[in-house]
Symmetry: C2
Subunit: 284 residues, 2 copies
């Protein structure tokens, strides 16, 4: 708290390995699975993070076939989660849906299913946090059997009321510790964690448990928290600092550029991939 | 993490003391100082939280005279802060402005100035946090001389890029501890802290240092984080739980209802005060 320090976010930190770049499919949301996988292959992007609703549009078997024949690996499947519900039947339905998501991840050849844990069904956020823990515990045996690891994604607190009661990396790691399964880890998305004064020490604590790293930027001023994410470099996040801290914690896997933004979605996918490449090399 | 518990947020917790209700002036933003103070007096609300830009419109001396003659106490003045700046001259200007705000608080007869600490001037959020600490340290002697306490307000992380780098109650208390001045404490606004898994233990830790309590609700879905706050009871915050925890931490001062919401602002002030009374008694 005593003035500026250069920190590892300064330009002298090395650019990331180009081989680690992955396109999260939502960055080119107009593309179906085939267009996105083929777009990655043409652009020299070696991995892609897929979304279940997109896979469902194309069909699971066909999506798996497209990915397997493309030379583009599937880095993650988004998303499982949404465990809390007002009724026991609702919570059981969520567990069933997560088992299905695990099966889909395995069929697509990815070892990581990202979990957006879900909001509370009422005002009792503590109880909802308990439902998340119970829900993950219920699906862990299925994940282990399928060889799919579950990545708990802490979401920015602006989504605490409608997407996830798990809102900090520390809380996600507490949950992982509590459940004590090697099949479980965290997904770190810079958009969700950058604001947290604890993020640097929690990234160090996350060593060995980071299963997914997603990047995009936080634009100022905020217009639409859901669909206003920025291309790396266009906002205020110390992206290189956070990425190198994840590296230092031992994470050497894919780095997904994941951007929800109507302006970017309106552009041709090929052009978006050019921007993704340039911003990744310069700012991540 | 093992299922629902009734908790203190259930209906059996007692309603708050009606004598503690305060109107934060922004809840009736179309009203000037005179209208708001007279509105409170008519509605039996015994305190008001004023804003500097409203006081400036009416004039400081006139605002002070209106308040002094009304029987309505001034619970707080909003807001000082915004300490970080790219240049030393900018940071000095911020300190000067905060000294002016302290003088205005003293002239208005309130002992509490709320600090919204400000965003980073660049991507270096740690450095900005240092500038906040330095800025508060620089104005503390003036605050002590004026008999005005400074309430550091942690803001919801959705505002981390444009309003405050101080985003959790724990971080605000760390800052208060770091500076070690009895003139310094925290402002707790339910809108800003409700999502935090640490909030309950941090409220207990805040004992003796809560200088201001503000309440409103978090609406779902989120539309406009800045101007989409809800009347107590219309959203998902466990307001009674948080208020009784602040009580348990020894806070017995005014409870300001502070709502930024275009729909509420469009209504006649008298009607808004009726809703404030009802929602305060039922949900706070």
């Amino acid at each position: 708290m005593t003035g500026p320090s250069p920190g590892p976010g300064t330009p002298q930190a090395a650019a990331p390995d180009p081989g680690r770049l992955s396109l999260n499919q939502m960055t080119t949301s107009r593309w179906g699975v085939r267009e996105a996988v083929e777009g990655c292959a043409r652009a020299g992007i070696r991995a892609i993070g897929l979304w279940r609703h997109k896979v469902a549009e194309t069909g699971l078997a066909e999506s798996a076939r497209i990915a397997a024949g493309s030379g583009v690996a599937v880095s993650t499947l988004c998303r499982g989660g949404f465990f809390p519900a007002a009724t026991a039947a609702g919570r059981l339905a969520a567990v069933d849906d997560n088992r299905a998501a695990i099966d889909e991840a395995a069929a697509l050849g990815t070892g990581v299913l990202v979990l957006v844990c879900g909001p509370a069904p009422d005002r009792d956020i503590d109880a909802a946090r308990g439902m998340v823990a119970d829900g993950i515990a219920a699906v862990l045996p299925h994940a282990e059997a399928a060889g799919v690891r579950l990545a708990v994604e802490p979401m920015h607190p602006v989504f605490a009321g409608d997407r996830s009661v798990i809102v900090t990396l520390g809380e996600a790691l507490d949950l992982v510790d509590h459940l004590g399964a090697s099949q479980l880890g965290v997904a770190v998305d810079t958009y969700h964690v950058w604001w947290d004064p604890q993020v640097h020490r929690q990234l160090a604590r996350a060593a060995g448990r980071i299963l997914c790293l997603q990047v995009c930027d936080w634009l100022v001023p905020v217009t639409d928290p859901l669909h206003g994410r920025g291309m790396p470099g266009d906002g205020v996040i110390e992206l290189r600092r956070l990425r190198t801290e994840a590296d230092a914690a031992g994470y050497a896997g894919p780095i997904e550029v994941e951007i929800f933004n109507h302006d970017i979605w309106a552009q041709p996918g090929e052009r978006v991939l050019e921007q993704v490449w340039a911003s990744y090399l310069e700012h991540v």
